[in-house]
Symmetry: C2
Subunit: 185 residues, 2 copies
Amino acid sequence: MNGERSTREGILVDLLEEFRACGFDGVSLSRISEVTGLGKASLYHHFPGGKGEMAQAVMSLAGDWLESHVFSVLEGQGEPAVRLESVLLALEDFYQQGRKSCVLDVMPLGGGPEVQAAVKQVMQRLLSGFERLAHSAGIKKADAKARAESTLIGIQGSLVVCRGLGSTSPFLNQMKALRKSFLTP
Amino acid sequence: MNGERSTREGILVDLLEEFRACGFDGVSLSRISEVTGLGKASLYHHFPGGKGEMAQAVMSLAGDWLESHVFSVLEGQGEPAVRLESVLLALEDFYQQGRKSCVLDVMPLGGGPEVQAAVKQVMQRLLSGFERLAHSAGIKKADAKARAESTLIGIQGSLVVCRGLGSTSPFLNQMKALRKSFLTP
DNA sequence: AAGTTTACACCGAACGATCGGTACAAATAA
DNA sequence: TTATTTGTACCGATCGTTCGGTGTAAACTT
């Protein structure tokens, strides 16, 4: 149950939380109903497309969040080290130091083709963003591309391992490793 | 539909394929029934515990596979480089160069506590196995532990990214990186 | 100003379909 | 025969979804 109930945005905050905790198939409308405090019929008023539209909307919300906290920084101006630190802090906050899973990991399994397309798009944007950051720090293009890829892999993988082990240290270690070596030639 | 239908082992091969493709929640008994060619009654004859027992059995199968192709090599004798190569080849085969997801990633979401415990146990075994391999190659204990963790992270993460992008290159790149740098001091 | 209409957010109840699971008897193998 | 294995039919529960309708407050009419 959230502060701003009746608005789509308010509902979406709860939806994001549920979907990334249980995956698309793991979340039922009854569950959504009770977590938002809205009847199932009301949910269909805000999301006429049903569960599929809810999933797409959640992907959009996550995309918007990345846009303002990650993409804009990666693709913006300023000292590379400062930009990197800003992004890493944002990610630590978003994933709650590794306690929360990533929608890019859990959503594509049950989500429809639109969700999978959104996942792909976001991943590509993350890759080019990190590549750009590395490149702007004077790292050669091919190397920058490789670092971007292993950065995304490190984030996703550490979250998977955190979930499996029930520990946050893999994610935190990964963040530490990125701080140490992402920008060093 | 598999060669050895009516045996538990034969059924499990199909189950593993379904579960790791769709996750626990994404697989229905009807689907299992049609993919194995067995009626529900037959499935419940082999797995009296139902879907939950099927999931646990799949985890056991994956565990057994790891036991003979990975753990025994990581914890065994022989040239470290040879052992590493053997493990990586086995993983490339198991994940079909990145086309298939890992049960450690997709199962814990809907799977019960037993499945999650199995996931945790397998991950810990993988970690100590890789640590041991690194250690036996003369790498200091703390460093070996860190390498083991980032190796597991790299495997899981690259599979997630492969699934998201619809490409196998992240996984293949990761394998290449492990060959290049896992054993180098 | 008072009455009417429109628009919006919401809900209870029920839909058909499918879920995981079971009872039981026929078929098959030993 | 006896024991194992399977197909058919079925169960209650829950799935995602839709229907018909309520309450409320702003927007228009007169």
